[in-house]
């Protein structure tokens, strides 16, 4: 058998082993199929300075020099803009995710998971409707800084590209889910903010199960045929992805809207603040532990912390 045939056979076997999980997740998705247009009662207006829209301990300036200088109303205003930023970064992340899922739908070698990819795609679109619903009604959709051009794109074999796509998805979703879970349980939050976080956490729990199984299966079936340079490239890419993802939580546009001076310097100093570095390490721990224990990463993505 040639290397590529052996790899195909291993991938087929790995995907087949996902069968029972994928069937169970698909049944759950069908059972909780949602209509995002009727599931929320949007209040006519919200009061950003009087109510919390995000958990204060999860704000990007918490534990920094800036936090001490903000009074209660300013902290709530920051939480409100930061909630809109959190929803916006989800929208932009889900946009890329939907593209990648759509591209892989009914691909011959992924046929075994096509049924579930339909749910995944459908659910991400609905999540973005919730996030967009909040942002467009009460705040705005913050811009994304993601872009690429021809010379910046990597030419990678398809199995490497698949692995990176699903692993990036997992990292992104695990970080988001940590915020969702904490904020869904925070009784200080406005009911709409709690609902959005709770609903996303509830939905994402299926994607996270799927992601972990698929990433492990792809790694086990594909990486044995990758040479040292490819594996090193994969690891560099994933480590940088942690940084890229986390940087989005420190958005200068938010600081400007919250009335802070020197928004870019604020973002940089908050990023470097010890309390925030520790926060990022802690929130990332579940996914870094998964990646390290499976041998996918050989060291922590320290630049992100």
């Amino acid at each position: 058998m040639s290397t590529s045939q052996a790899r195909k056979a291993r991938l087929a076997e790995a995907l087949a082993s996902l069968g029972p999980t994928v069937e169970r997740l698909s049944r759950l998705s069908q059972r909780s199929y949602q209509n995002p247009y009727t599931a929320v009662e949007w209040p006519a207006e919200v009061r950003p300075e009087e109510e919390w829209f995000g958990s204060p301990e999860y704000l990007s300036l918490y534990g920094t020099e800036f936090w001490e200088r903000l009074d209660e109303a300013a902290r709530r205003r920051l939480a409100f803009h930061e909630a809109a930023n959190f929803y916006s970064l989800n929208i932009h992340g889900e946009k890329g995710l939907m593209q990648g899922l759509a591209e892989r739908l009914y691909r011959k070698d992924l046929l075994d998971v096509a049924g579930y990819l339909h749910h995944f795609l459908d659910e991400e679109n609905k999540h973005s409707i919730y996030f967009g619903g909040f942002c467009t009604r009460y705040a705005k959709v913050y811009r994304s800084r993601q872009f690429s051009f021809e010379e910046s794109r990597d030419e990678r074999p398809r199995d490497v590209e698949d692995f990176l796509f699903f692993t990036r998805t997992m990292i992104f979703e695990e970080i988001v889910d940590h915020y969702n879970l904490v904020q869904s349980r925070d009784s200080r939050l406005h009911p709409v903010a709690r609902f959005i976080n709770h609903n996303h956490h509830f939905e994402e729990s299926r994607h996270l199960v799927f992601g972990r199984r698929l990433v492990a299966a792809l790694w086990e079936s594909c990486s044995p045929s990758w040479d040292g340079g490819t594996v090193a490239g994969v690891r560099d890419h994933l480590r940088q992805f942690f940084t890229t993802s986390w940087r989005e939580y420190y958005n200068p546009d938010v600081y400007a809207d919250a009335g802070l001076d020197e928004p870019w310097e604020t973002a940089e100093r908050a990023w470097l603040a010890p309390a925030q570095r520790e926060h990022r390490r802690r929130v990332s721990r579940k996914v870094t532990t998964f990646l390290l224990s499976g041998g996918i990463l050989d060291k922590e993505p320290v630049d992100a912390f």
Partner: protein, 86 residues
């Protein structure tokens, strides 16, 4: 206000921190950063944030030209002018 030199120095040290040490020995302000694989797509959002901080203005991704990111010289030409006194 940042000087043009400071703009170059900050870009250079950021690029060095992103690529392996050996590879950066030959890095100059004219090096084609993406063609020569010092940087990749996954670095772009962070690079954009750094450029915004250096020039103190938002940069709209919908109005970018890849040419402006080719090298340190290209970035200085395009972005060190607007907000930076040299």
């Amino acid at each position: 206000m940042r000087s043009e030199q400071e703009f170059r120095d900050q870009l250079r040290s950021w690029i060095r921190s992103k690529s392996g040490e050996g590879e950066t020995a030959a890095l100059t302000d004219g090096t084609a950063l993406f063609e020569e694989r010092y940087l990749r797509s996954v670095h772009l959002p962070e690079l954009l944030l750094l450029l915004e901080r250096l020039c103190g203005e938002p940069i709209d991704v919908e109005e970018l030209s890849p040419r402006d990111f080719r090298s340190i010289d290209a970035m200085v030409r395009r972005y060190a002018r607007s907000g930076v006194a040299s």
